[in-house]
């Protein structure tokens, strides 16, 4: 459905994309996860034809973007980071206008608007001007306005930034529905929870390039990161540390009062570890299991946190 090959982009003094490639199948929910400034918005801008890449190629729904921008535009819906609506017009008027740009026949469009307003839970407020809406409601209309022409592909650039939980959940529900209905979606975010929750496949982007991609399970196994058990002791001295080091097998290290033990099968290893500690007279005050998630994957790949 979408094939992005080695696109690069530089602004006046910054290199925003150093070479981004990915491929997305029809109906796939693809997450682009990366910290602020990674190049997510730049990528989406290029895919949605409003920014020309310096090099590389993009194919959407079989059309080469540089050669057939109009055709590509018909297949895509874009939800930007910022809310782009006419505040002085009502929600209904906004939807009517945005929908009309895609040559949806009038009658069909009006029906779709009704349905969409229903879907986003804003049918009763449709006559009110956008300026009277809350941030979350505006965001919902903003998303709705990108769906009226029934795009095959939907690009969403951080649609949940600065939004109330209620609206966020509603957006998630809609997204899940669209996904089940078979829409191809690219979703950018810097929240790993969102990427983990929805995405069939995830591309991790940093400093203008995709550093890893695959399903959640695939990503978790990249970089050889294992889950770990962190055990905090009350009486850890050099003597005890030495005894433990002799007794334990595998991959572990000590720092201050904490022992971190890496393992591929954490459940079986956990009871063994506790047994060993008891035998050696080490008093445990806390045990914490550190699972592998996108955060730790990102940490392992880049040496920094996803969120600054």
């Amino acid at each position: 459905m979408i094939k992005v090959e080695n696109i690069t982009k530089s602004y006046a003094d910054v290199v925003a994309l150093t070479g981004v490639s990915f491929e997305i199948k029809q109906g796939e929910f693809y997450g682009l996860l990366g910290p602020n400034g990674a190049g997510k918005t730049t990528t989406i801008s290029i895919l949605s034809t409003i920014l020309k890449p310096d090099s590389g190629s993009v194919i959407i729904d079989g059309f080469e973007l540089s050669k057939n921008p109009e055709q590509c535009k018909r297949s895509i819906g874009v939800v930007t980071q910022e809310i782009a609506l006419y505040n002085k017009l009502s929600a209904y008027e906004n939807l009517l206008f945005w929908g009309s740009l895609y040559n949806v026949p009038d009658a069909g469009l009006k029906k779709r608007i009704e349905e969409t307003l229903q879907l986003f839970g804003l049918a009763d407020r449709q006559k009110d001007k956008i300026e009277t809406y809350s941030g979350g409601m505006k965001r919902r209309i903003n998303i709705a306005s990108a769906l009226l022409h029934r795009p095959k592909v939907l690009f969403m650039d951080e649609p949940t930034v600065g939004i109330d939980p209620q609206s966020r959940n509603l957006i998630f529900e809609v997204l899940e529905k669209l996904h089940t209905d078979g829409m191809t979606i690219i979703y950018t975010t810097h929240y790993m929870e969102e990427a983990e929750r929805f995405c069939d496949r995830i591309g991790i982007i940093d400093k203008g390039t995709i550093i890893a991609q695959g399903t959640l399970a695939e990503l978790k196994s990249t970089g050889g990161i294992k889950e770990s058990i962190a055990v905090t002791f009350t009486n850890l001295n050099e003597d005890l540390q030495l005894k433990l080091k002799e007794a334990l097998l595998g991959d572990f290290h000590f720092s201050k009062q904490i022992l971190t033990y890496y393992s591929a099968q954490i459940r079986t290893d956990l009871s063994k570890l506790i047994l060993r500690c008891n035998e050696l007279g080490a008093e445990i005050s806390n045990i914490e299991i550190q699972k592998v998630n996108l955060e730790t994957v990102f940490l392992a790949l880049t040496g920094k946190q996803l969120r600054d």
Binding site: T49, L51, V78, L89, F97, Y102, K129, S145
Partner: protein, 413 residues
């Protein structure tokens, strides 16, 4: 493109401030300016009313009548030729003129209807009534008795055809002395007969428009137009700043059509605004807008085109909305000042009048003067040249706007 224009019009309608600026603010301004320039070129204001009169009879009797009218404290008679007098009414320079036709003395002597005529501007009913009331009473006093005396004698003569001339002369003497004494007592009859003495004829004035009013209306119209289209142009930058322009670019339409949509709506709003302003001036100040409709339409279109070109041009080369607003105020006020929107161009020093040609205001205001004051026909080359200049200005500004738009506005992100 039309969808975009329609949306812009909807947005404009929803924007109360813009509506106010476009349609309401010009009204007090026109009123203010027309009060300020109102006296220009028209002859009202002095206590005694100046009455233009044409003496076609040129007899001692007609001279005496005019002298006696002139001696009245409420009337100042100014003599001129018949054609000139009528022309002044036709052009709207005078509300009414008094004409003493040939044969006045003879009809007076013969006791027939008096060929005295008040030719007045059809649109000036009120002024005509004023003239009539002053004139008919006085004319009655001056010539009325004389004429009735003759009438009585004539009646006597016709009823007694067989009477010899010596007898007749005696009776005439009696009638004359009778009338001399009784002029005051006969005031009532005389007045009711006044209409017969003074015939009032309406004349359709072709140019009742005082230059002061034309100045006020045209000057304000163009200036306000520039402000409101600049506002619409600024909405292009607002769209850029609020992200809706970017969103428009996601849609399968050519980027230029967004600009063209703005141009269309700017033109439409300009046209409506001018129609409103001229209608207002017509209804309230009696600006005669009906005398040359084709020329007026042409001028409105040309002005709308030039002004809206200015609006989109300004928006396309400014960097931000704040910048547009600052520039708008500066440029519009400067252009309006040198172009004659605030002070008529002809009272400005010559060097300023020469500079005026760089402003949209100048060409447009002069064009409206052509229509309303100089009363040039729509085919007049001078008038058409102004229309041409305005269209040219509009064309150049629009083309520049398209170029700048690609360079400035479309580089999003």
């Amino acid at each position: 493109m039309f969808k975009i224009a329609l949306k812009d019009l909807k947005l404009f309608r929803a924007d109360k401030r813009a509506m106010l600026l476009t349609f309401l603010l010009p009204i007090p301004l026109i009123t203010l300016f027309s009060l300020a320039f109102g006296g220009m070129g028209s002859s009202s204001g002095s206590k005694a009313m100046i009455l233009i009169a044409a003496d076609e009879d040129k007899t001692p009797t007609s001279k005496r009548i005019l002298q006696q009218l002139d001696s009245l404290k409420e009337i100042d008679i100014k003599l001129t030729g018949l054609d000139t007098a009528k022309n002044w009414v036709r052009k709207g320079d005078e509300d009414a003129v008094l004409i003493l036709h040939k044969g006045l003395k003879d009809s007076l002597d013969a006791g027939k209807e008096m060929p005295i005529e008040l030719v007045y501007d059809k649109a000036k009913q009120v002024q005509m009534g004023l003239y009539m009331s002053v004139l008919s009473g006085n004319l009655m006093r001056i010539v009325g008795t004389k004429s009735m005396e003759k009438k009585a004698m004539n009646r006597f003569d016709s009823q007694n055809p067989g009477m010899d001339s010596a007898m007749k002369a005696g009776v005439h003497q009696m009638i004359a002395s009778n009338f001399d004494g009784g002029s005051g007592a006969d005031g009532k009859t005389a007045n009711s007969d006044g209409g017969a003495i003074l015939k009032a004829t309406a004349m359709e004035a072709q140019k009742e428009n005082a230059p002061g009013l034309v100045q006020a209306v045209a000057g304000t119209a163009v200036m306000m137009l520039l402000f409101s289209v600049a506002g619409l142009g600024a909405s292009l930058l607002q769209e850029k700043e609020e992200g809706t322009l970017k969103k428009l670019l996601f849609a399968p339409l050519s980027p230029q059509s967004i600009l063209f949509g703005k141009m269309i709506s700017a033109n439409l709003i300009s046209i409506v605004q001018m129609v409103v302003m001229f209608s207002f001036s017509w209804l309230v100040f009696g600006l005669n807008i009906k005398q040359n409709i084709p020329a007026l339409i042409l001028m409105i279109l040309a002005t709308a085109f030039a002004c809206s070109g200015f609006g989109v041009f300004l928006a396309s080369f400014a960097k931000s909305r704040a910048q547009v607003q600052g520039l708008t105020t500066l440029i519009v006020l400067t252009m309006s000042a040198i172009g004659g929107s605030m002070i008529p161009a002809f009272v400005m020093p010559l060097w300023m009048q020469k500079m005026a040609v760089v402003s949209v205001n100048y060409w447009s205001i002069q064009g409206f003067y052509d229509i309303f004051w100089r009363v040039l026909p729509v085919t007049d080359p001078v008038f058409l040249s102004r229309v041409g200049v305005l269209f040219l200005i509009g064309l150049v500004l629009n083309l520049l706007a398209i170029r700048m738009y690609k360079k400035n506005i479309l580089n999003i992100a």
